[in-house]
């Protein structure tokens, strides 16, 4: 663990993190200096700042073919972390745009600062190569999100959702930390890339290793909201401000997957035979629980929450396949899911703001009040349901192909059956949007520019991922290859 010589590659490798830090500081200073009526511009500033960081990172941070460990082995600079960092930055930029005109967040500088801080934590999660860094990154992501979930102080539901999120999050991370401490105890090092070798040499019984793996998995399952640690998701999504719910369900989940993939494949390859069935079972349970509970929902935010639990199940299929194709499929699926779900939550934000309700009945006649918005919802829900030519379709095909390739045919079949169930409730929502009439049909919905831009980006993303998927697929392949 020598400090190692300091050089420019180290700084270039953490360029996105430095940028995010600077942006967070800038936002908080401007929040103090700007007057109340200027503060809405903080949203533009945050979004464009994040976009700028993406461009800078794309130019300067693109990793070399050989992954390198920087900062004394704390971070690993490889394609997997790079691709995930881009996903988080994009998701955060869109969330900033959605937050701009959403009432509880719009004029609050601290909301943007916390958003940037959480994104910083996620970028570190994707590249952490040391247990210390990993734990810090996970907490750095979670703590700002706890505050954001409970952001509306006067509102019962919001504070309650923040508190529930914190309680679940802190408990699962304490269990995970205990797992880390045992891992450190077995190996005597906190470096993730040295752990596997030492664990393999040391004569540890499979039972102990599996027990530690379970402890660690508790923390990760919470982040990706996999069964049986999914209880928090619907409550938290319902209570928190809608743009934040969107962010929680996409970027935060993606960060959880980034960690899950790296950890399972790098630290525990020797117990593969045990955790692959385990992961397959978790994935099946996650899909079934998410989809069946979603069927009964009358609140669109809760429905999307259960649907996002189910989506985590499909992505777990890719991880359970444990092959380059499986990881590729999961990364691609996550990208498609990010733009899709952000678009869906964006629509919920707008409808919620103008009708004051997230109930399904509030969506009646939406196609007449705001045809463009209804179209975005149509694209998003069909993509979630896995209908061509949208991004979700390609993601699902890849995931199921990976499962079949790894001889998990039963899992692929279950996945396909589940997608059919899911399609049912997505179409139910669309039926309300397109076929039901309501009294205020002739009152069009106002859509501010920031939302129009964000949703335009999402729809373009969904269509690109569904039709011209070559480059994105190539990206995911490169990302996956850095794990094998």
């Amino acid at each position: 663990m020598a400090a190692g010589p300091f050089n420019a590659t180290m700084i270039l490798a953490i360029l996105p993190q430095i940028g995010l830090l600077a942006l967070g500081v800038l936002v908080s200073i401007l929040d103090l200096l700007w007057k109340e009526n200027q503060k809405r511009n903080l949203g533009w500033l945050t979004a464009s700042g994040l976009a700028l960081i993406m461009v800078l990172a794309g130019v300067f941070t693109a990793p070399a073919a050989q992954p390198v460990l920087v900062f004394g082995g704390m971070l690993r600079h490889d394609w997997l972390s790079f691709v995930f960092q881009m996903i988080f930055l994009f998701g955060a930029a869109l969330t900033a745009l959605f937050a701009m005109d959403s009432e509880p967040l719009s004029r609050k500088g601290e909301a943007y600062m916390l958003l940037v801080a959480a994104t910083l934590g996620m970028t570190l999660m994707a590249s952490a190569a040391d247990l210390i860094m990993l734990f810090l990154a996970i907490e750095m992501t979670s703590i700002p999100l706890y505050i954001l979930a409970g952001f509306i102080v006067g509102d019962n539901k919001s504070t309650e959702s923040g508190f529930k999120y914190l309680l679940f999050g802190a408990t699962t991370s304490a269990v995970m930390l205990y797992g880390f401490s045992l891992l450190y105890g077995f190996a005597g090092t906190t470096q993730i890339y040295q752990l596997a070798g030492i664990l393999q040499q040391g004569q540890f019984s499979t039972f102990t290793l599996i027990a530690v793996l379970m402890l660690v998995l508790v923390g990760f399952s919470f982040k990706v909201s996999a069964v049986p640690f999914h209880f928090w998701a619907p409550d938290v999504y319902e209570g928190s401000p809608t743009p934040i719910a969107g962010f929680l369900s996409t970027a935060s989940k993606a960060a959880g997957f980034a960690v899950l993939m790296r950890f399972l494949l790098v630290v525990f390859p020797m117990t593969e035979h045990y955790w692959i069935p385990l992961l397959a079972v978790i994935s099946t349970a996650t899909m079934i629980v998410g989809n069946t509970l979603a069927l009964a929902q009358k609140n669109v935010k809760r429905l999307l929450a259960y649907s996002s639990i189910a989506q985590a199940g499909y992505m777990l299929i890719g991880v359970a396949s444990v092959s380059p194709l499986g990881i590729t499929a999961s990364v691609f699926y996550l990208t498609a899911y990010l733009v899709t779900n952000l678009a869906a939550f964006g629509v919920v934000t707008i409808v919620g703001r103008s009708t004051g309700s997230d109930e399904l009945s509030a969506y009646a006649g939406l196609s007449r009040r705001a045809p463009g918005l209804a179209m975005v919802f149509l694209v998003a829900l069909l993509s979630l349901g896995g209908i061509p030519p949208f991004g979700g379709f390609v993601g699902k095909i890849l995931v199921f192909a990976a499962a079949i390739n790894s001889n998990l045919i039963w899992l692929a079949v279950l996945g396909i059956l589940n997608s059919i169930i899911a399609l049912y409730y997505y179409l139910m929502v669309l039926k309300v949007v397109y076929l039901y009439r309501s009294e205020d049909e002739n009152r069009p919905l106002a859509i501010p520019r920031s939302w129009a831009i964000a949703m335009g980006l999402c729809v373009v993303g969904i269509l690109l991922l569904g039709t011209v998927f070559g480059p994105w697929y190539q990206w995911s392949v490169t990302a996956a290859s850095s794990l094998f």
Partner: protein
């Protein structure tokens, strides 16, 4: 020297007491104290292993866990105060406005 296994037993006992506290107690403050117990059980294990291996990373880990736990509790207390203002109770069973 106290053998390593003593520390680990104590840490395991602390951890399970913490888990029991989180699951059984209903007062939010006590739940937080139980959470601290869980974090500190892990801390004890880290320090014990660090001593055993003569490696510093375990002790460094404890520094970070301490700060993180402080931040987490600060946020938690803020949320408790916010909840208490509207509900006049910090019993977690009362947190039931979100259901379905």
């Amino acid at each position: 020297m106290v053998p390593l296994s003593y520390y680990l037993m104590l840490s395991a006992v602390m951890f399970f007491l913490g888990v029991l506290g989180v699951m059984l107690r209903r007062n939010a403050i006590i739940i937080f104290m139980s959470l601290e117990l869980m974090f500190n059980a892990a801390n004890l294990a880290f320090v014990a292993f660090a001593l055993y291996y003569h490696s510093l990373s375990g002790q460094i880990f404890v520094f970070f866990v301490m700060t993180v736990a402080a931040a987490e509790v600060a946020v938690g207390l803020a949320l408790i105060v916010a909840i208490f203002r509207t509900k006049h109770s910090i019993n977690v069973d009362q947190l039931s406005s979100l259901k379905g």
